[in-house]
């Protein structure tokens, strides 16, 4: 990745950048406030990781899931089919001091993405977390189990249709004056 592409992104306002669909590594790229965001499909995702790894992005910083159930109208590059879930991966290139973010659309009907742990072993725990919290299955993960919730937990807490817990509050009368 060249330095210029990063600088261009910083100058362009975010709204305009979304309309212009340019590509990087044959994948639609968006500059979101100076940050480079790639939008591969699920099919392109493993090969793209391989190419980025060859390009010097040797370290995977982070992976997390997002559930867009209640926010469907988000801005995406033209021609990309939005899914209910997104898997967001942050990679870093230490030599060129560049970061790149991947947003992979995952449909609700078949929430499966291939695992990146073969290339980036550090994504092991984050993928388990995304599975635990969103129910996204990472195909090829060596040990895809719940990591933060108990093993027998039902449901995936960070999904938008999973209610937050509340403790019922009962208001009582004021205590009687002590005699």
């Amino acid at each position: 990745m060249s330095e210029e592409s990063l600088v261009d992104g910083a100058d362009a306002p975010a709204e305009e950048a979304v309309v212009v669909t340019e590509t990087l590594f044959d994948v639609p790229v968006v500059h979101s406030g100076g940050q480079v965001v790639l939008h591969p499909t699920r099919v392109e995702y493993p090969a793209l990781l391989g190419r980025l790894h060859e390009d010097g992005f040797h370290s995977a910083v982070d992976l997390c899931g997002v559930d867009f159930l209640t926010h469907p109208g988000r801005q995406l590059p033209a021609g990309l089919e939005p899914g209910r879930f997104e898997v967001v991966v942050n990679l870093i290139n230490h030599r060129s001091r560049a970061r790149v973010r991947l947003r992979v659309q995952v449909p609700e009907s078949d929430p499966v993405v291939s695992s990146a742990t073969g290339l980036y072993p550090g994504l092991d725990a984050p993928e388990r977390e995304a599975f635990d919290m969103f129910g996204i299955v990472f195909d090829g993960h060596p040990d895809l189990t719940r990591i933060l919730m108990p093993e027998d937990w039902v449901g995936h807490p960070l999904r938008k249709d999973y209610d937050i817990g509340r403790i019922p509050v009962q208001f009582k009368e004021a205590p009687a004056v002590r005699g």
Binding site: V61, Q75, R99, D143, L148, G155, L158, I164
Partner: protein
């Protein structure tokens, strides 16, 4: 509670968080628990296969979650052959309180109150990462004084966090007097943080748009008192620990990791630097005003527990250098942005102006709206890269708030560091990774 139909759980094994016996687990999983980080060579795979000992010679034991040396509620399942650790698997989640879910219910102004409880040993860093991400989404720049106050406070917090490490590391290895000294100096540092923020921990001081309050009168005396006191105390640590053969024997050559393994595992912070790889976001991808101050990035050479200890000790000195520069160069001006959208009106205006009162009320009840978008901002916390990823849908609450916790990622290096070591060294290794379980489980 709504339970959605979940095709995922039908297809995967949701049991077996725990370490299971060797004849059940698959070969890949076993290598993973052995700490095979990168792809193994054929010779390495053969050797790993030879290590396959009958189950009656090995024993799986639990260490934690109530073990005092596991820094909270970390549970390790260790497979032992005699005194040697063959496999190790961290089991976490005992402190999981759903803070990322909670963050979706709180406004951007309430957000720092939530995230500050993640890494309770260095709370200001999580506040800073959160605030910087919100500022990136808002497209605002904080005033120069706020930038320098943030630098001063986070470096103070780095000192207190590393002092806490000195204390617990000493305690774990039986140097109990080190624990007392480390705790004493940390308390002095926290006293300064309390003078400025009002609280020892969980400050809620750094907020989107700046900081909560200006530095109080006499803050310079507090900083100078610390800067005068600490060098002598650190020299004492040096004499007490570095000059002590028992201390060196317990740490040198224990829990060795290489640069390649660190990068593959995403491990950052003092663990990565202990391998001789110079990577510090403060210098390599500067934020705040770190490109204007002078400091050195301390690296080790062996990647062992001693290097990780020595790096943290040296980083206290470097943080003190930065604090001194903050003291000299602290600019005058506003401590928070004067943007009516984000900043509440000053207290005095509320008494005289009805509009100011309404404005104040609206900011604290409704919060402020953040434009639609997403951003990831990372900073260098005492434990490594601390990142915050926020998706905004244009409302006053984050649509999704995710924190990339360095301890969570760094814990993945444990199976690797432990493999082939002694069970007594396990304590030294956990301590040298310096995990904060509040941040691991979030």
């Amino acid at each position: 509670m709504t339970v959605t139909h979940d095709p995922a759980s039908a297809r995967t094994d949701e049991g077996a968080q725990e370490l299971s016996s060797r004849d059940i687990v698959s070969a890949i999983e076993r290598l993973h628990e052995l700490g095979a980080v990168l792809r193994l060579s054929e010779a390495g795979a053969l050797e790993a296969e030879r290590e396959r000992t009958p189950d009656d010679e090995t024993m799986i034991i639990n260490m934690g979650p109530q073990h005092p040396s596991t820094h909270g509620v970390l549970r390790l399942m260790l497979e032992l052959q005699g005194e040697t650790v063959l496999r190790c698997k961290p089991v976490i989640g005992y402190l999981h309180t759903g803070m990322e879910k909670t963050g979706e219910q709180l406004s951007y102004l309430q957000g720092p109150t939530n995230v500050t409880r993640m890494d309770y040993a260095s709370p200001l860093f999580t506040e800073l990462a959160f605030s910087m991400t919100v500022e990136q989404l808002l497209g605002i720049e904080v005033p120069e004084r706020a930038v320098w106050i943030r630098m001063l406070m986070t470096e103070m917090n780095r000192i207190s966090s590393h002092l806490l490490f000195m204390a617990t590391n000493g305690m774990d290895l039986g140097a109990v007097s080190m624990m007392l000294y480390g705790w004493r100096e940390r308390e002095e540092t926290l006293r300064f943080l309390q003078e400025v923020t009002g609280l020892r921990m969980n400050h809620n001081y750094i907020r989107p748009g700046g900081v909560a309050a200006d530095l109080p009168d006499g803050w310079r005396d507090g900083v100078l008192r610390l800067l005068d006191m600490l060098p002598g105390r650190l020299a004492e640590y040096d004499t007490l620990l570095n000059g002590q053969p028992i201390w060196r024997e317990r740490l040198q050559g224990v829990g060795v990791i290489t640069t390649e393994e660190c990068l593959a595992l995403g491990v950052t912070g003092p663990i990565l630097r202990s391998t001789g790889y110079s990577w510090d976001l403060r210098r390599d991808m500067p934020y705040l005003a770190y490109d204007e101050v002078e400091f050195d990035v301390v690296v080790g050479s062996y990647g062992d527990a001693f290097d990780r200890y020595a790096i943290r000790l040296a980083e206290i000195h470097e943080s003190m250098r930065i604090v001194r520069q903050c003291l000299e160069r602290m600019p005058a001006g506003d401590y928070r942005i004067q943007d009516k959208k984000v900043t509440p009106p000053p207290r005095a205006r509320i008494d005289e102006s009805m509009e100011a009162l309404i404005h104040h009320f609206k900011i604290f009840t409704e919060g402020f709206k953040v434009p639609e978008g997403e951003a990831y901002v990372a900073i260098e916390s005492p434990r490594g890269e601390l990142g915050c990823y926020i998706v905004s849908d244009g409302s006053a609450n984050p649509y999704r708030m995710h924190v990339r916790a360095p301890s969570f990622i760094n814990l993945q290096s444990l199976p690797h560091l432990m493999h082939g070591g002694l069970v007594a060294d396990a304590v030294a290794i956990i301590s040298s990774v310096d995990p904060i379980l509040g941040e691991v489980d979030r």
